[in-house]
Symmetry: C2
Subunit: 157 residues, 2 copies
């Protein structure tokens, strides 16, 4: 079964299932089939210095990666739970406004990822994600994270 | 000037200055001069699967490290702003209850850190932090992060 990819359903799933995502006021900004962008305003994500809290950056980067994998699995018609395993984060510059996090996979790993998941019930994938800096500047933060997807044990197909 | 170390002031600073820390409902649990432990309940930090959201783990680990450095600087009577620079995170096991994050520095780096900060106005330090797993089990998450502290440019002493 190929499910329609519904970014609004992903946004609802994050906001309704994860209280901190709602507290951050995150929204899905854009999905083009390869990259997922999430956005969140400054006010609920500020720190005591008036710029973006590192924990908000980390959360948005991880949710962008997690969301991207969920959308790609929905496109492929594979039901699986997705968990983050590890992450390397660089906080590169303070950010004094809205957060936009974009996640993508280097190379073209999705077919192999889907095939491994179908064959073994479990597969890993590395996802890159960045938070945009001020216009014209480099990224404010960058993350490389590994995720694992597991098919439900009870699933027959 | 040696300031008294006030963990309640640290808790207020985090909860009043960082809306997401308040949304997580974090509290300072304990500080023994070397280790700072923060605690947060499950309910506001849950994910769509019913266990702790990875972003909450990352935020608590980073705040524990940031808070520890602020307490050690207060003990040494040094005013400085503390920023996280990079982090390596391992999400080791799902956690189905309260989060307790404990931060500490390996070795005894504090005297050298304070001396470098006084001499150069800027210094870096690596902080370990862990989130406890269920009783008898290993850690649920582990982070090694590097922080930078900068003395205010206007400070004369």
């Amino acid at each position: 079964m190929i499910e329609a990819v519904d970014i609004h359903a992903l946004e609802r799933q994050m906001r309704e299932g994860i209280p901190l995502a709602r507290a951050m006021d995150l929204r899905v900004l854009e999905y083009d089939g390869n990259r997922l962008a999430l956005v969140a305003p400054l006010a609920p994500n500020v720190n005591d210095k008036g710029c973006v809290f590192g924990g908000s950056m980390s959360s948005l980067l991880t949710l962008a990666g997690w969301g991207l994998i969920n959308l790609k699995l929905a496109e492929a018609g594979i039901a699986a739970d997705v968990f983050v395993q590890d992450a390397h984060l660089e906080y590169l510059a303070p950010l004094w406004g809205e957060l936009v996090a974009e996640a993508y996979a280097d190379g073209a790993p999705w077919a192999a990822f889907g095939a491994a998941l179908r064959a073994k019930g479990k597969a890993r994938i590395a996802i890159q994600a960045e938070i945009a800096g001020p216009e014209g500047a480099g990224a404010a933060a960058r993350q490389t994270a590994r995720f694992v997807a597991k098919r439900p044990a009870t699933q027959a197909v």
